[in-house]
């Protein structure tokens, strides 16, 4: 009886440990994708940004209609990149997963040059990543809007 109790406790401890390790791995994976965004946006590397998206992703930028598919999303990003963003920083607030979907909530701060001045544009976002057959995460849904405090 005592042996069984110890075994059960060990199994629970191992499960919690595995879950924490899994959460840590998930966070690292998402942060790695964030790093790609953060480096690609200021350098206007549109192809690297688009590589983050699924073929039939939906993108809901701060204004206008829902963009569906890479072609429409690329057009939206081209307009965003025309704003002369020289720094782009993402801060994850929460990451969680369920099945093949990973949900990420966070904040962004973009430094934009406009008429010789630097302005700071703050946003908050929800990304829904979907795990692909090869284990990679691709953006399935993305929505952002202005953040008035940070």
């Amino acid at each position: 009886m005592r042996t069984n109790t110890i075994l059960v406790l060990l199994m629970i401890y191992a499960s919690v440990g595995l879950a924490q390790q899994s959460n840590q791995q998930l966070l690292q994976q998402v942060e790695s994708l964030q790093a790609k965004y953060e480096s690609a946006v200021p350098e206007n590397r549109i192809d690297d940004i688009m590589e983050l998206y699924e073929q039939d992703a939906l993108y809901l930028p701060a204004q206008g209609n829902i963009r569906q598919g890479k072609e429409q999303i690329k057009a939206a990003w081209m307009r965003t990149l025309s704003m002369n963003i020289f720094d782009f920083d993402l801060q994850t607030v929460k990451v969680s997963s369920s099945g093949n979907m990973v949900t990420e909530v966070g904040k962004t701060i973009a430094q934009v040059e406009m008429n010789g001045d630097t302005i700071e544009i703050k946003s908050k976002y929800l990304n829904v990543w979907r795990r692909q057959d090869d284990g990679q995460l691709k953006l399935h849904r993305g929505i952002y809007n202005p953040l008035t405090d940070i």
């Binding site: 939906l58 209609n65 829902i66 704003m83 963003i85 369920s98 544009i121 929800l126």
Partner: protein
Amino acid sequence: MKGLMIILTLVFWTTITAVGQDKTLTDIVSELGDEFERHIPTKRIEAIMALYSEDAKYLPDNEGLLIGREAIREKWERDLKYDLQKFVMTPVTVEGTKRLIYETGTGESTIKTNGQVMTFAFKYVNVWRKEKDGYKLVIDTFNRASPSGSGKELSAQ
């Protein structure tokens, strides 16, 4: 014969119950949307808050990132001071599992202010989680669907 009738009746009611319980994700989300559409114009704050999980995150347009029911409630109390005449949500995509549902959609809210009626189009992504007392929003976020902006956002127009 009587036994057969009882068995047939039991089979009939079991089937009806099973069909009624076998809702699609779209059905579930439509019903939840209907609740929002009912409660917002009638300012039923408790009913609105009952749709959020305790740890919900609400990302309303042009506001902070609100975490937890208390912060979300404060935001809704402010918004319900407006004369919201109509609120409509239309799902565009619904996917996930019975445990966690991802909804993308468009909507319109109609407000009467200074004698004028104005309609605002928006688009949204909701994440619903099944909890003990029903489906709750764990993430609620929206932004405007109109082209004009304040100039203080990353533009995609």
